[in-house]
Symmetry: C2
Subunit: 119 residues, 2 copies
Protein backbone atom coordinates (compact mmCIF):
# COMPACT_ATOMS: atom_id res chain seq x y z
CA UNK A 1 0.00 0.00 0.00
CA UNK A 2 2.97 2.29 -0.57
CA UNK A 3 1.35 4.30 -3.26
CA UNK A 4 2.03 8.02 -3.03
CA UNK A 5 0.22 10.24 -5.41
CA UNK A 6 -1.39 13.46 -4.25
CA UNK A 7 -4.76 11.81 -3.70
CA UNK A 8 -3.16 9.06 -1.63
CA UNK A 9 -1.43 11.50 0.64
CA UNK A 10 -4.53 13.60 1.07
CA UNK A 11 -6.84 10.76 1.99
CA UNK A 12 -4.21 9.23 4.21
CA UNK A 13 -3.86 12.54 6.02
CA UNK A 14 -7.62 12.87 6.43
CA UNK A 15 -7.82 9.33 7.80
CA UNK A 16 -6.75 10.46 11.26
CA UNK A 17 -9.27 12.16 13.50
CA UNK A 18 -6.79 14.48 15.18
CA UNK A 19 -5.65 15.67 11.79
CA UNK A 20 -9.25 16.19 10.76
CA UNK A 21 -9.76 18.14 13.96
CA UNK A 22 -6.84 20.35 12.95
CA UNK A 23 -8.32 20.91 9.50
CA UNK A 24 -11.63 21.69 11.17
CA UNK A 25 -10.12 24.34 13.42
CA UNK A 26 -8.06 25.82 10.62
CA UNK A 27 -11.18 26.18 8.50
CA UNK A 28 -12.26 28.78 11.05
CA UNK A 29 -9.05 30.71 10.82
CA UNK A 30 -5.27 30.84 10.80
CA UNK A 31 -3.70 29.60 14.00
CA UNK A 32 -0.35 28.96 15.68
CA UNK A 33 0.90 25.46 16.49
CA UNK A 34 0.38 25.84 20.21
CA UNK A 35 -3.10 27.26 19.74
CA UNK A 36 -3.89 24.19 17.67
CA UNK A 37 -2.47 21.96 20.37
CA UNK A 38 -4.51 23.44 23.23
CA UNK A 39 -7.76 21.50 22.91
CA UNK A 40 -6.11 18.37 21.53
CA UNK A 41 -5.10 16.17 24.48
CA UNK A 42 -1.79 15.27 22.85
CA UNK A 43 1.61 16.91 23.19
CA UNK A 44 2.88 19.79 21.10
CA UNK A 45 5.38 17.44 19.50
CA UNK A 46 2.57 15.18 18.29
CA UNK A 47 0.74 18.15 16.82
CA UNK A 48 3.87 19.15 14.96
CA UNK A 49 4.06 15.66 13.49
CA UNK A 50 0.45 15.84 12.35
CA UNK A 51 1.12 19.21 10.81
CA UNK A 52 4.01 17.72 8.88
CA UNK A 53 1.71 15.12 7.38
CA UNK A 54 -0.90 17.74 6.58
CA UNK A 55 1.63 20.01 4.98
CA UNK A 56 3.18 17.26 2.86
CA UNK A 57 -0.28 16.33 1.64
CA UNK A 58 -0.99 19.91 0.60
CA UNK A 59 -3.92 20.37 2.95
CA UNK A 60 -2.22 22.96 5.09
CA UNK A 61 0.37 25.64 4.53
CA UNK A 62 2.54 27.00 7.32
CA UNK A 63 4.88 29.90 7.64
CA UNK A 64 7.22 30.72 10.48
CA UNK A 65 7.24 34.32 11.65
CA UNK A 66 9.57 35.00 14.51
CA UNK A 67 9.21 32.04 16.83
CA UNK A 68 5.58 31.40 15.93
CA UNK A 69 4.53 29.09 13.12
CA UNK A 70 1.30 30.24 11.63
CA UNK A 71 -0.85 27.56 9.98
CA UNK A 72 -3.55 27.97 7.41
CA UNK A 73 -5.79 25.77 5.35
CA UNK A 74 -4.95 25.16 1.70
CA UNK A 75 -8.40 24.80 0.20
CA UNK A 76 -7.01 23.24 -2.97
CA UNK A 77 -6.14 20.11 -1.02
CA UNK A 78 -9.69 19.71 0.19
CA UNK A 79 -10.81 20.34 -3.36
CA UNK A 80 -8.79 17.43 -4.69
CA UNK A 81 -10.46 15.05 -2.25
CA UNK A 82 -13.88 16.51 -2.93
CA UNK A 83 -13.43 16.06 -6.65
CA UNK A 84 -12.30 12.48 -6.30
CA UNK A 85 -15.39 11.70 -4.28
CA UNK A 86 -17.85 13.51 -6.49
CA UNK A 87 -16.40 11.92 -9.61
CA UNK A 88 -16.90 8.45 -8.17
CA UNK A 89 -20.35 9.27 -6.97
CA UNK A 90 -21.18 10.81 -10.32
CA UNK A 91 -20.11 7.74 -12.20
CA UNK A 92 -22.20 5.52 -10.00
CA UNK A 93 -25.29 7.70 -10.14
CA UNK A 94 -25.14 8.12 -13.89
CA UNK A 95 -24.89 4.39 -14.27
CA UNK A 96 -27.84 4.00 -12.00
CA UNK A 97 -29.92 6.42 -14.05
CA UNK A 98 -29.16 4.57 -17.23
CA UNK A 99 -30.27 1.35 -15.59
CA UNK A 100 -33.47 3.06 -14.48
CA UNK A 101 -34.19 4.13 -18.05
CA UNK A 102 -33.68 0.62 -19.27
CA UNK A 103 -35.97 -0.83 -16.64
CA UNK A 104 -38.98 1.45 -16.77
CA UNK A 105 -38.67 4.03 -19.46
CA UNK A 106 -37.73 7.72 -19.49
CA UNK A 107 -39.48 8.64 -16.29
CA UNK A 108 -36.65 9.91 -14.15
CA UNK A 109 -37.57 12.46 -11.50
CA UNK A 110 -33.94 13.52 -11.24
CA UNK A 111 -32.64 14.97 -14.51
CA UNK A 112 -28.91 14.38 -14.58
CA UNK A 113 -27.28 17.13 -16.66
CA UNK A 114 -26.15 15.10 -19.60
CA UNK A 115 -23.19 16.21 -21.55
CA UNK A 116 -21.46 14.11 -24.10
CA UNK A 117 -21.25 10.44 -23.40
CA UNK A 118 -17.65 9.58 -22.91
CA UNK A 119 -16.83 6.05 -24.05
Amino acid sequence: MLNHGAVDRIFHALGDSNRRAIVERLSRGTMSVSDLAKPLDITLAAVVQHLQVLEESGLVRTEKIGRVRSCQLEPGGLRVAEDWLSNRRGLWERRFDRLGELLDGPERPNPTPRKKTKT
Copy 2:
Protein backbone atom coordinates in the same frame (compact mmCIF):
# COMPACT_ATOMS: atom_id res chain seq x y z
CA MET B 1 -8.01 8.52 18.24
CA LEU B 2 -10.69 6.05 19.21
CA ASN B 3 -13.48 8.20 17.97
CA HIS B 4 -16.09 6.41 15.93
CA GLY B 5 -18.78 8.49 14.41
CA ALA B 6 -19.88 7.97 10.83
CA VAL B 7 -17.44 10.54 9.49
CA ASP B 8 -14.55 8.90 11.32
CA ARG B 9 -15.31 5.50 9.91
CA ILE B 10 -15.74 6.85 6.40
CA PHE B 11 -12.48 8.79 6.30
CA HIS B 12 -10.65 5.95 7.98
CA ALA B 13 -11.96 3.58 5.31
CA LEU B 14 -10.96 5.96 2.52
CA GLY B 15 -7.48 6.29 4.00
CA ASP B 16 -6.34 3.01 2.48
CA SER B 17 -5.46 2.95 -1.21
CA ASN B 18 -6.70 -0.58 -1.83
CA ARG B 19 -10.02 0.34 -0.34
CA ARG B 20 -10.14 3.44 -2.51
CA ALA B 21 -9.36 1.23 -5.50
CA ILE B 22 -12.35 -0.90 -4.56
CA VAL B 23 -14.60 2.15 -4.33
CA GLU B 24 -13.24 3.28 -7.68
CA ARG B 25 -14.07 0.00 -9.38
CA LEU B 26 -17.48 -0.20 -7.75
CA SER B 27 -18.30 3.27 -9.01
CA ARG B 28 -18.27 1.70 -12.48
CA GLY B 29 -20.63 -1.06 -11.54
CA THR B 30 -21.71 -3.81 -9.19
CA MET B 31 -19.16 -6.57 -8.82
CA SER B 32 -18.48 -9.85 -7.00
CA VAL B 33 -15.77 -10.21 -4.38
CA SER B 34 -13.49 -12.27 -6.61
CA ASP B 35 -13.93 -9.85 -9.52
CA LEU B 36 -12.84 -7.09 -7.17
CA ALA B 37 -9.86 -9.14 -6.07
CA LYS B 38 -8.56 -9.87 -9.56
CA PRO B 39 -6.51 -6.75 -10.28
CA LEU B 40 -5.57 -6.13 -6.66
CA ASP B 41 -2.36 -8.05 -5.93
CA ILE B 42 -3.61 -9.14 -2.53
CA THR B 43 -5.42 -12.32 -1.53
CA LEU B 44 -9.17 -12.82 -1.60
CA ALA B 45 -9.14 -12.94 2.18
CA ALA B 46 -7.59 -9.48 2.35
CA VAL B 47 -10.22 -8.13 -0.04
CA VAL B 48 -12.95 -9.56 2.17
CA GLN B 49 -11.43 -7.73 5.14
CA HIS B 50 -11.36 -4.46 3.23
CA LEU B 51 -14.97 -4.99 2.21
CA GLN B 52 -15.89 -5.44 5.84
CA VAL B 53 -14.39 -2.08 6.69
CA LEU B 54 -16.09 -0.46 3.71
CA GLU B 55 -19.44 -1.97 4.61
CA GLU B 56 -19.22 -0.95 8.27
CA SER B 57 -18.44 2.59 7.18
CA GLY B 58 -21.50 2.70 4.95
CA LEU B 59 -19.55 3.22 1.74
CA VAL B 60 -20.49 -0.12 0.24
CA ARG B 61 -23.46 -2.42 0.47
CA THR B 62 -23.20 -6.14 -0.24
CA GLU B 63 -25.71 -8.92 -0.69
CA LYS B 64 -25.09 -12.61 -0.96
CA ILE B 65 -26.93 -14.39 -3.74
CA GLY B 66 -26.22 -18.06 -3.92
CA ARG B 67 -22.51 -18.40 -3.35
CA VAL B 68 -21.65 -15.03 -4.85
CA ARG B 69 -21.50 -11.84 -2.82
CA SER B 70 -22.44 -8.91 -4.95
CA CYS B 71 -21.02 -5.53 -3.94
CA GLN B 72 -22.26 -2.10 -4.78
CA LEU B 73 -21.43 1.46 -3.92
CA GLU B 74 -23.55 3.31 -1.38
CA PRO B 75 -23.37 6.86 -2.70
CA GLY B 76 -24.64 8.29 0.57
CA GLY B 77 -21.36 7.38 2.22
CA LEU B 78 -19.37 9.31 -0.34
CA ARG B 79 -21.83 12.16 0.12
CA VAL B 80 -21.09 12.39 3.82
CA ALA B 81 -17.37 12.77 3.17
CA GLU B 82 -17.97 15.24 0.35
CA ASP B 83 -20.16 17.37 2.57
CA TRP B 84 -17.64 17.38 5.38
CA LEU B 85 -14.97 18.59 2.98
CA SER B 86 -17.07 21.21 1.26
CA ASN B 87 -18.30 22.59 4.57
CA ARG B 88 -14.75 23.08 5.79
CA ARG B 89 -13.66 24.57 2.53
CA GLY B 90 -16.73 26.79 2.51
CA LEU B 91 -15.99 28.11 5.96
CA TRP B 92 -12.44 28.89 5.01
CA GLU B 93 -13.30 30.57 1.74
CA ARG B 94 -16.06 32.65 3.22
CA ARG B 95 -13.65 33.85 5.89
CA PHE B 96 -11.13 34.60 3.21
CA ASP B 97 -13.61 36.67 1.24
CA ARG B 98 -14.59 38.70 4.27
CA LEU B 99 -10.96 39.41 5.02
CA GLY B 100 -10.43 40.45 1.41
CA GLU B 101 -13.31 42.90 1.64
CA LEU B 102 -11.91 44.34 4.81
CA LEU B 103 -8.47 44.84 3.37
CA ASP B 104 -9.26 46.57 0.14
CA GLY B 105 -11.04 44.61 -2.48
CA PRO B 106 -12.12 41.29 -3.83
CA GLU B 107 -8.69 40.14 -4.89
CA ARG B 108 -6.23 39.56 -2.07
CA PRO B 109 -3.90 36.68 -2.85
CA ASN B 110 -2.02 36.83 0.44
CA PRO B 111 -3.69 37.85 3.68
CA THR B 112 -1.05 39.31 6.01
CA PRO B 113 -0.89 37.23 9.16
CA ARG B 114 -1.54 39.48 12.14
CA LYS B 115 0.81 38.96 14.97
CA LYS B 116 0.78 41.82 17.35
CA THR B 117 -1.96 41.12 19.84
CA LYS B 118 -1.25 38.87 22.74
CA THR B 119 -4.26 37.16 24.37
